[in-house]
Amino acid sequence: MSGGADAYETTIGLEIHVEMATNSKMFCGCPVAFGGEPNTRTCPVCLGLPGSLPVPNEKAVESTIKIGLALDCRIAERSLFHRKNYFYPDMPKNYQISQYDIPLCLQGAVDISGDFGSTRVGITRVHLEEDTGKSVHVGGSGRIGDSEYSLEDFNRAGTPLVEIVTEPDIHSADEAREFVSELRALLENLGVSDVRMEEGSLRVDANVSVRRIGEKEFGAKVEVKNMNSIRSVGRALEYEEKRQREALDAGQTLVQETRHFDEKAGTTSSGRLKEGSSDYRYFPEPDLVPFTPGDEWVETIRATLPETPAERRERFAAHYGLGEYDIGVLTSSKATADWFEAAAEVYTGEAKKVVNWITADLFGLLNEAGQELHETKIRPQQLARLVGLVDEGTISGKQAKLVLEEMFTSGEDADEVASKKGLSQVSDENLLAAAVDEVIAENADAADKVRGGQLNTIGFLVGQVMKKTRGQANPQIVNDLLRSKLSS
């Protein structure tokens, strides 16, 4: 029997680790920050030195509850930490303080626009744990087994880490990408994390399996790791889906394993085989006491939750009258949406015009310069003013693009750039009348044609006036003037 795309169904569940952007680490007072001179942000506690003890960071618990509430989870009445025991050189205590059977947040959901309209992805659990240090394996293949030696940096060790586990409700690489993108926007919006995938503050692992439609059992579960951007989530899962389908087509049996995504090659390759589940010997962390968040605290936290991306999208539609596409682009990141709103707030015309300037022109310039929105010298209010100048007819749309380019490099105001460039559009009829008269005199034939009713010739005359005024004339005014002077 031949396969073909339609004969299979893909099932994906995601495990997402998010580093909390708290001031201090999960169980000690060391600062949380990316990078830095190795082993400079450490203390006896996050180094796991003999005798040291963990003291939980309340802010991290609060952030986790925030995430839980934003994901529509139930917050546990009583929760506790467990120890997850395994040996690895970047884990200072050779156990990780994590959560096991009673995570802080349970049973939530996120709505995404899926392959067949809006789809709901269940959230199994959200729990809090500590991050490990970072290993650099030198020599060999770059993995620990055959390296000559390894370097360990414990700056990251003990950073509060939230793990979000989804139900296997995702059915394509596109949906997975959409989910991660939605989740990232949501987390960014909550202000709990930097959500920078390239720096590892948001890490995505995926469990992917493929089965023939109609089969009851799931296919062998393959864990895909090392996806360092939303784009690579899509690429890796697309590849993996295809690989598994082709293997099934070829009559092969898939095995449960961990595979690493190779960014350059765009492929996944087998890591170690997973022989059953490892025995982490979980037991309740005796250095910590169970905690009860309590309704009062949870409700206090709920009251501080910002507008969710979904709520914001609805508001963009209702308040600014924007279409789905524009809203999608603007709300892909909180920074962009915030930027747009700051501009729209001071702009008096239709918000749609500001959107066009942002998404078409400004994004184009950013792209060319390889910059992010938050890096640009242009402030939202300056862009709003630029669009205003066009509306007022002070400059033309074409001129405005030149002004924007200049603003982009210098950071100057629109008015300033326009006047410096002598770009201000001439709309004064008295000033333009002389030029119009000259053009009529110089182009008598064309003028006669217009007088004779061939109105399409008027464009030619407008062009001549523009030429004469080096583009500064307001073409609408010129048009009106020509019509009135040549009407019989």
Binding site: L49, V55, N85, R281, P286
Partner: protein
């Protein structure tokens, strides 16, 4: 007025300092001299910090001159079991695997000792990682009991009790997980306290079993124990399981007597199991309590007999995780040669840990493994709950509970080292208290008629009721009139 710098209690030494009868340097030097004279026989110390102690003593004397004392005990020297992290001073837990480790920080107990102005004389021997009842499991040699050098001082805090009993230091800090302060205190004729779990910060105390570990004073008098506990007890923000308030002054009202106090005698511990001399000593002690006006009645603690079984699942389980960090990666011992990181870790642990530690790591690993957790660790936790319930029930009718601290006096070196189970049973009367978390004290009740070796009476209080416990212990000690007399000093000098 001259003061005996070797045998005076810490309270008496503090009084001598206040009266100007001695300096901190005098008493610190006296401790150094005494240890020089006896420690080659006792092997109590693992590491001595004489110069540093004298420096601290000089600073204490200066403070006294200038009238800016850190505490009433500013200048009274002390030593610590080598399981407390001490900044810039080697800390080994008597394990080869920690050889060469110099902590960058002080344990809270040590920091509070420094803050009170106690010069630190050094670090004392123990069973490796506090796992044992004799110090025979030390990676650096056994300590000897000053009452009989062929016998163990008890353990795991045996180095501490040997030194305090021999007059080498007025007081010391030990630690308990299953009786490691009370048992060696009993075997060396000393006072040993297991405070309520959480009363003394565990920060910097190298963990054996986190839910059981608790630091405790080892002293020659009850007042000294109350005073030393007061110096370190109370909330520490570095320990999430720490008691949330400041500790009271336990010396306050310690002499108010026990008239009318109701004291329970454990029915299950009355009969077999204890040496005749121990039993006789304890029964004499009960009569002293009655004479003091206490009302004695029998209480039943049926779950106590499962204490040892539960303990030897919970403690090793936690230990197997706590001791995972000793892997040769960042500090301490590392094997000379290994083909990869896994072999490096395995060989380091194989070569660095002693047999008893390995035995407990294996026991604990097994008890926590998937499929066995409920049967072992889970069930042991249920016994723990039963013990807590039995105690709570007993305390409905009594204020304190008394029983022997240990079933026997000090045993011979080598006598039980080949039989781990026999060794484990020497903690049979102390272990349930650690499981319950309550406070308890061992007070000397003289020596056994069988062998002339010290016997200890254990007084078990409710959680956080150290005050009542100290009152009873103090009244008993005063009435017995043994502490501070020549009879309470081991015959070490005669035997020399």
């Amino acid at each position: 007025m001259s003061v005996d710098l070797t045998w005076s209690s810490a309270v008496a030494l503090a009084d001598a300092l206040a009266a100007g009868d001695a300096t901190s340097v005098d008493m610190t030097q006296a401790c150094i001299d005494r240890a020089d004279a006896v420690d080659d026989r006792l092997h109590a110390y693992l590491h001595r910090t004489n110069e540093r102690a004298l420096e601290q003593a000089r600073a204490a004397d200066d403070r006294r001159k200038n009238g800016n004392l850190l505490s009433r005990f500013d200048g009274v020297p002390i030593a610590y079991k080598d399981i407390f992290a001490t900044k810039d001073v080697p800390t080994t837990c008597a394990s080869r695997i920690l050889e060469g480790w110099i902590p960058p920080y002080d344990a809270t107990v040590v920091a509070r000792g420094h803050a009170a102005g106690l010069p630190m004389l050094g670090k004392l021997n123990l069973d490796e990682f506090a796992m044992g009842s004799s110090t025979e499991n030390s990676g650096f040699g056994t300590s000897h009991n000053p009452w009989d050098l062929e016998r163990v001082p008890g353990g795991s805090s045996g180095g501490s009790t040997a030194l305090v009993a021999a007059g080498g230091v007025p007081w010391a800090w030990g630690t308990e997980t299953g009786g490691s302060v009370r048992q060696p205190a009993s075997l060396c004729g000393l006072v040993g306290v297991k405070p309520t779990y959480g009363l003394v910060s565990r920060y910097g105390l190298v963990a054996f079993a986190s839910s059981l570990d608790q630091a405790g004073p080892i002293t020659r008098t009850v007042s000294d124990a109350a005073a030393l506990l007061g110096i370190a007890a109370g909330h520490d923000p570095m320990d999430a399981t720490s008691y949330p308030r400041a500790a009271p002054d336990y010396l306050d009202g310690i002499d108010s007597g026990i008239e009318g106090m109701r004291i329970g005698i454990v029915k299950e511990f009355a009969g077999e199991g204890s040496q005749p001399g121990v039993r006789a000593g304890i029964e004499d002690a009960y009569r002293v309590l009655e004479k003091l006006g206490a009302e004695l009645e029998e209480v039943s603690l049926p779950s106590f007999e499962y204490g040892i079984s539960a303990y030897y699942l919970i403690a090793p389980a936690e230990a197997s995780s706590n001791l995972a960090r000793f892997d040769g990666v960042r500090y301490g011992y590392r094997t000379a040669e290994a083909k990869d990181v896994v072999e490096m870790m395995s060989k380091t642990r194989d070569e660095g840990f002693g047999d008893e530690v390995k035995r407990r790591i294996m026991l604990g690993t097994y008890a926590l493994s998937a499929g066995y957790y409920d049967a072992y660790y889970g069930k042991a936790q249920k016994i723990r709950t039963l013990i807590i319930q039995d105690l709570a029930k007993a305390y409905e009718s009594v204020d304190l509970i008394v029983c022997p601290t240990t079933p026997s006096t000090a045993f011979k070196i080598g006598e039980k080292s080949a039989d781990p189970l026999a060794m484990y049973l020497s903690d049979i009367f102390t272990v349930p208290v650690n499981l319950a978390g309550n406070a308890a004290i061992s007070v000397p009740c003289g020596v056994s008629a069988d062998d002339g070796l010290p016997v200890g009476l254990q007084i078990i209080a409710k959680s956080l009721d150290e005050a009542t416990m100290f009152k009873a212990a103090f009244a008993f000690e005063q009435s017995l009139g043994w502490a501070g007399t020549d009879a309470s000093r081991p015959p070490l000098d005669g035997a020399a």
